[in-house]
Symmetry: C2
Subunit: 473 residues, 2 copies
């Protein structure tokens, strides 16, 4: 493909992108295909000869598009959003065109120094303490693994990195019952073991009970374990419950545990001064993660990981073979030493585009709008005796279920309700289980979600719920 | 930014991209900036109000561009290429526009099934055995970590995941002295410890000596260690040395070790039947990694990780909290369970674009051309008594140094030569150390490198070397 062909195809792609953004609401939000449908249409072998771009795009439209779930649809309410914005898309086009691999300062000084700057901006925008230093990771899974590994190495004076688990010590990690699966995974990878992840009971609002945490730590110490790390959640995945960061910090300090704060989704809301209560005490924590790709209008993947002590992080991951040594190593940030992967995309660029395009005010306005939409939706639910809100609504996630009179098997009913809603193609929401209750989760965090979407969603939920009950009775 | 603004800015970005691709040779390959130069020009605080795209792009051109190292320049010969091609760039634009987060089948069925298909294509193109199953990872660092963790869990019946290193067993991992740093890092992360990574001696061609491997395994068994895994390299980082995969496989089978083949760079050359000798015996290995983002014209990041036993991989990483359960879980590939991160980009798309745009023949042609360029360059070096080739040239990486008469400190001279070459801005190459000799590494693997680049590079190297000697004498 020569430059002229590239220009032609890339301009056509931009038109396709614009058309897609304009028409995304018209597609079924959740793909209406069955397992195997897509693969059955793809050739079993790669082509011998190159094919025209026209053919590739035709196949894309015909085969791939019907199997896409549209994360960018304003009616995508499932999980947490994997967000994007138009400025982020353009920023990512630039990252792609430059194609820099940002493992070391020398392999693109601008990438390293823009990352440093943008992380400082973000720290300040979120009201995080000045003694936090940030680095971009791909996902919160990776950042949390970095935290657990730093905790492991810091407590053992970097001896497990060197000698493995050779002393027979047994370590424990703590988080609430509502912990994200990435913490389970990190505890396994780090060689600590799932059985040594203590799930601390939660209160009625699904937030960790600090007294229970302390009790469990003391019991473990008595039983000969070495408590290593506590992970608190500012916004759990199921309900955006807020663990009491301050109380947990005090306990972490008392027992010398690493304290990692997982604010992957909700952390973005710290941009709003009125929401900073969520993270009170964060200045005492050792690390903190927030995903700009979740609610900060930035294309996946982009995770911001902040640490109090960069040395603990770098000493955990640094290694410089001969072929990577450079004259500047002592003066610069070589971000390959700040995480797991050697290779790194130039992710700071899209975040820089987003922050500058929106401005702090623009981002705050969007967030407040999302909170209002959620609040309105919650109010509608509260007005209805046949709907029930199942968790406090701190942000823009609402946990609810349908509780019509005379229906015994509410779990089965609500699962059916969710399936009907999702199969309609009009919206996509996901579920959790709270106190054995099958619970629908709806999140109003998509960059482009507006009041009209939330209103028609509410209408459709009521109608579908009613039809379901009528069909049963 | 509304749709009209997006179209305007994105079309301008395409023009910028095309202009950049056309003019990339004009930029200094390695950025000519000093530590701190870029950061000093960036504001310390994020803007309160949104800024115009014009301003952002002006700042990008003025501040960021001078600090970019141009990985896409045909004169970028350092490390291994972090490649791209125009079809890959367009594919990535599409990934960005769709913004799908591909953790589960349901979150984009097309992404899951296209990944499955493209990995089958790639397996067959590379002549890998049909019993290999592929999954896309971000980087080889991650894939190798997956291999070491799978080895750890497989050998211990998944007990470390569950209980941690509680039995006091001491495990060992083996690789050649020329192992990539990612293996060191993985051994640390997995809790095995650097001290238990055995570096097996290499022969004169820098390839692992199987007898030494076997001797070390036996010694370790005698000493009470449990050998876990051997990593062989098909193309080491320093010299693209080829470890004897077949002999290593036999040893791995004999002692029940997991055998991971690291072909991150050189694996792409298996597309050429005449290069398949490199991986003879690979069908006996347990896992294999190759990076399409290195030499397969695909934008970073895109790593293909193949395993013989998907169950060992999935059992190592799978966990399904309530909020991720779906009705299709038993029938589909949920790739979140095939690696470390929960969140995943739609990376299969760009690889699909590249394979279809080039076709197998087109890719083979490019690779053969790169091999010829390297062969020509090596011939030029061999003709000159004052240059020395320091390692076998199996592929398109040449390790060499300048050895003029009457110069004692060749290491210092060659370091100066490299610095002069890189500071010229005309090219960027990197170094290694072989048998205590400071060695220049030059790789002809960039998508757009042509004979004219290699010729002028060779001219400039000779001229610079001569000037350096003249300046000294």
């Amino acid at each position: 493909m020569n430059i002229e062909q590239f220009k032609k195809e890339a301009h056509q792609m931009v038109d396709w992108m614009a058309e897609y953004f304009e028409s995304v609401e018209k597609y079924p939000v959740k793909a209406k295909v069955k397992p195997g449908d897509i693969k059955a249409q793809l050739p079993k072998e790669a082509p011998e000869k190159g094919e025209s771009f026209e053919t590739i795009m035709e196949d894309f439209e015909r085969i791939i598009m019907p199997g896409m779930t549209h994360w960018h649809s304003p009616n995508f309410y499932a999980y947490f959003p994997g967000n994007k914005s138009r400025s982020s898309v353009i920023g990512e086009m630039l990252t792609t065109a430059l194609g820099a691999q940002c493992m070391s300062w020398i392999t693109s000084p601008s990438a390293a120094e823009l990352e440093e700057t943008v992380m400082e901006w973000l720290r300040d925008i979120l009201g995080l303490p000045k003694h936090f230093t940030g680095v971009i990771q791909d996902t919160a899974s990776t950042a949390t693994l970095c935290a657990i590994l730093s905790a492991r190495e810091n407590l053992t004076d970097f001896s497990i990195n060197e000698h493995g688990f050779s002393t027979g010590d047994k370590f424990t990690v703590y988080s609430s019952e509502h912990v994200h699966s990435s913490i389970d995974k990190a505890v396994r990878i780090a060689g600590i073991g799932s059985a040594n992840l203590r799930k601390v009971p939660v209160d009625q609002e699904f937030a960790m009970i600090p007294d229970e945490l302390e009790r469990m730590i003391e019991q473990d110490i008595k039983d000969g374990f070495k408590p290593l790390c506590v992970v608190s959640a500012v916004g759990t995945t199921s309900t955006t419950a807020i663990d009491p960061v301050k109380a947990i910090s005090h306990i972490a300090i008392k027992y010398k545990l690493w304290h990692h704060v997982d604010a992957a989704y909700a952390g973005t809301a710290l941009m709003l001064p009125e929401m900073r209560w969520m993270a009170e005490g964060v200045e005492m924590a050792d690390s903190f993660v927030v995903n700009p790709h979740k609610w900060m209008f930035t294309n996946f993947d982009c995770t911001a990981y902040f640490v109090k002590d960069t040395k603990a992080l770098i000493n955990t991951f640094s290694m410089t073979p001969e072929y990577l040594k450079t004259a500047e190593d002592q003066k610069v940030n070589n971000y390959r030493d700040w995480g797991i992967q050697l290779g790194r995309r130039f992710r700071a660029l899209k975040l820089w585009f987003v922050i500058r395009d929106f401005g702090i005010n623009g981002m705050q306005e969007k967030l407040r709008n999302h909170l209002e939409l959620a609040s309105w939706f919650k109010d509608q639910l509260m007005k209805r005796p046949d709907f029930e809100v199942l968790a406090p609504v701190h942000l823009n996630l609402i946990c609810f279920r349908y509780v019509p009179d005379g229906e015994d098997d509410l779990n089965s009913l609500n699962q059916k309700l969710m399936d009907s809603l999702n199969e309609s193609g009009k919206m996509f929401l996901s579920h959790t289980v709270l106190n054995d209750k099958y619970t629908l989760r709806i999140v109003f965090g998509n960059t482009d979600v507006e009041r009209r979407h939330v209103e028609s969603t509410w209408d459709f939920i009521q109608k579908t719920a009613q039809q379901l009950t009528e069909a049963i009775t």
